[in-house]
Amino acid sequence: MTLATREQTPLAGESAGDYSTSSPLSKHGTHFAAKKAGSQQTHFGALTDVPEIIMISTRTVTPLGDEQELSDSRYFVHEAEERLDEVTAARDRRLELLARQFVGESSPEDDARFHILTQRLRRLVPSVSNDAWQSLDTATSTLEEVSAHLEELKKQFDLR
């Protein structure tokens, strides 16, 4: 008894290292230890000698506001790269499945994955971008403000 396999249950067969880009010297000099060329240590601000600066890692110091911003932007770049990888992988797999459909070789499992990847791509790369949403949001706010202003004018001139 031979059946198509679809119709039958078959038998088995990331160191990033320490960041050397710390806060600007002019602003946060107190965060740095300084060392004379030799080995004598002194605090930065002693202008008689040009010190060799030992930079303290941002990992060991609680960052100030602008440092945090630097850190966050680094995070976002990383996140964007990951998202791009995800989009690329989903797109490639989707194309592969599309090719199978084209030659009539796709299984219901292939079709299910195709739909999952299509939905995932729509979420990752929406046809309406965030910029477009923000523009619409701004336009809506403007319209609401104008409407409110018109209402005030109507009241003011008793135009109801």
């Binding site: 008894m1 039958q8 078959p10 070789e105 219901p108 499992e109 292939d110 299910a112 994955r113």
Partner: protein, 262 residues
């Protein structure tokens, strides 16, 4: 027979469902099961075809299925030829075999004892699948039991329900090389394929290997969270049809019931 069971199709027409008396599953001292297999199909993941199995899956099953090997195969399609790898995991004495393919996981044993035991292994597999299949549903769950009754072509009387083998027992067809029937139908929980007969296996002694009762019950689009309950339901239905298929001699052979599940 139970009261006739009906269901409606997509066009509103009613059709009849499998209608055998419901039987509570039982665990007998012996069984006829040559192979028991449960297949869980899921939306295709190409990465599974790599030489290394998905790490999440491997971690989850390593304790119970410590042996791993890669099965290389070639998929021949009408317009393509593609190499595909699958991963086979086995228990220590190879009693339980687990195969992970790009769109299916299969648990199989040739030494079946009880459904409780089978379910325990399946629970491990489903937990591993949750972390691997990148989906919250299975496209199809199938549970299949292949039984072989130890009787020759002229000894079938009493082993199999006469409704299945009446003409064969009466000698209407004489001594036959092949006698088989394939039934495909619907249940309240999906569909089934029942194949039974003599000489249905390939090989020179095919007709002498006994009478085959092959039950395959399945359900499509099952939430992962419902998978175990679905398998239990399929097992209940399957056991009911199995019980109906037997003759008195076969029931005697099975021996005393040891517990609730077969």
């Amino acid at each position: 027979m139970d009261e006739e069971k009906l269901a409606d199709d997509a066009h509103g027409s009613s059709f009849r469902l499998l209608n055998v008396p419901s039987v509570d599953p039982a665990h007998y001292s012996r069984n006829f099961i040559r192979n028991a297999v449960c297949e869980l199909r899921f939306p295709t993941i190409f990465e599974i075809e790599d030489q290394r199995p998905p790490s999440s899956f491997w971690r989850a099953v390593r304790k119970d299925f410590p042996m791993h090997s890669v099965m290389s195969g070639v998929h021949v399609g009408p317009a393509s030829l593609a190499k595909a790898n699958a991963h086979q995991f086995s228990s220590k004495k190879s009693r339980w075999v687990l195969v992970l393919k790009s769109s299916a996981i299969t648990l199989e044993t040739a030494r079946y004892d009880s459904f409780d035991e089978f379910e325990a292994q399946l629970r491990i597999v489903i937990e591993a699948a949750k972390e691997t299949i990148d989906s919250d549903f299975f496209t199809r769950i199938g549970l299949r039991y292949i039984n072989t009754l130890p009787c020759g072509p002229r000894e079938i009387d009493g082993w199999v329900n006469p409704s299945l083998v009446g003409p064969l027992v009466e000698g209407v067809y004489g001594d036959v090389e092949v006698y088989s029937q394939q039934i495909r139908g619907t249940t309240g929980a999906g569909g089934y394929l029942f194949q039974h007969g003599l000489g249905v296996e390939a090989g020179p002694n095919s007709g002498k290997n006994g009478y085959v009762l092959d039950y395959d019950f399945y359900q499509e689009e099952v939430a992962v969270s419902d998978a175990l309950a679905t398998v239990r339901r399929l097992h209940e239905l399957e056991f009911s049809l199995f019980s109906w298929s037997l003759g008195d001699r076969a029931r005697d052979f099975l021996g005393e019931k040891k517990g609730v599940h077969k």
